[in-house]
Symmetry: C2
Subunit: 223 residues, 2 copies
């Protein structure tokens, strides 16, 4: 079956503002989800909305989140036979946009919002594939350079799957757009780029000092 | 009235897992909120939970969010006379924690979760103070080096205020904690530090090239 290049916009994925910044093509959405190290998952708790940061991984058109079976979202998902309604949002900040007026200050950013019902993954093979993807999302290639979970560890880990059906990206690039009458104001205007930069790897105190730093860390890049 | 040094933990702010990582002291919470450039705000939408990235600013014990009066959360807040139940989460990623086993992989991070009912700010003076704080949250000192909003701009901007009453931080630092029997595995283990780094300021194409880069951008730091 041929896959559509675009996600279909829905009432929940069309922004109320700046619709020209919305993107629905899979390439943009996938790129943002894969580059963002963490996402924020929102769900309805007993006492109101809950938003928690968590790591994620995309496998084709499924977004996986994981956590302890005793964690808040996993307990909520276990009690939701039809899936847990969630909103998963991943955001990359690329720069500050400084305009002459407060009003036109902005950010260069790329974000993805995915909504839907997340299901608890019951199948151990799918769970293992999802966890491998999560480890490789942290650092590409790491899953084959570390020990996979044993049966006890696998049982203690819960995995949520959200199929990417209702999803949109929002992208803002470029410099400030000032009002004509503000252009003669004396204030500096432009963009301060921001990037997430890796530092030098710090070996664990209990690591054999002869262990080389693997290339996926020595040349670490998110994009 | 003397202010307590700590926020009182509540059922909503005690994590289900890793309680030893929870922090309730104001200094830690304020530090994370002030350093994090953006937060994620969650609220209940018509079609389920919604999580959106947004910039914020803290003024004493109030967290301010702003947006167009036509934006999704502001419309929701305008329709909630008792305030809009929200969860605001700010997350700083400080590094990857690479363990010998998949299971013990983790992140160095600092996050804050604040819950409560957010009120729409109706008073123009408070709105202006909040917007100045937001501009200064982007770059300290910027509010006095750019044009404040005029009456039309102020009317088009909505500000939400969340009093910091139910709030907690979660902090994880340090290297991997591997199982004893994994220590002889050949895999590298340790931390890859990550920091949000500013690049060189890029002037707007319509900026007078004689305009100097202000010191708050030339020496930009979040922490």
């Amino acid at each position: 079956m041929e896959r559509q290049l675009m996600y279909a916009p829905t009432a929940r994925t069309v922004p109320t503002r700046y619709r020209e910044r919305a993107r629905y093509d899979r390439a943009t959405v996938h790129g943002i989800l894969d580059e963002a190290l963490v996402c924020h998952v929102g769900f309805g708790g007993d006492g109101g909305p809950v938003v928690l940061p968590t790591i994620h991984a995309r496998v084709d058109e499924t977004l996986y989140l994981h956590g302890s079976t005793g964690s808040h979202p996993m307990i909520a998902a276990a009690g939701a036979p039809d899936g847990l309604p969630v909103c998963v949002t991943a955001t990359l900040v690329d720069g500050l946009v400084l305009a002459r007026s407060w009003m036109h200050h902005s950010m260069e950013f790329r974000s993805v919002v995915a909504v839907g019902s997340a299901r608890l993954v019951r199948d151990d093979d799918e769970k293992l594939r999802a966890l491998a993807a999560v480890v490789d999302h942290v650092a590409r290639g790491r899953s084959t350079d570390s020990r996979p979970p044993n049966a006890r560890e696998l049982a203690a880990t819960a995995v949520l799957a959200l199929d990417l059906l209702e999803v949109s990206a929002k992208v803002r690039t470029g410099g400030p757009v000032d009002d004509e009458e503000d252009l003669t104001l004396p204030h500096w205007a432009g963009v301060l780029p921001l990037t997430l930069q890796p530092g030098l790897p710090v070996a664990a105190t209990d690591l054999d000092p002869a262990t080389p730093v693997p290339p996926y860390l020595a040349e670490y890049r998110r994009a």
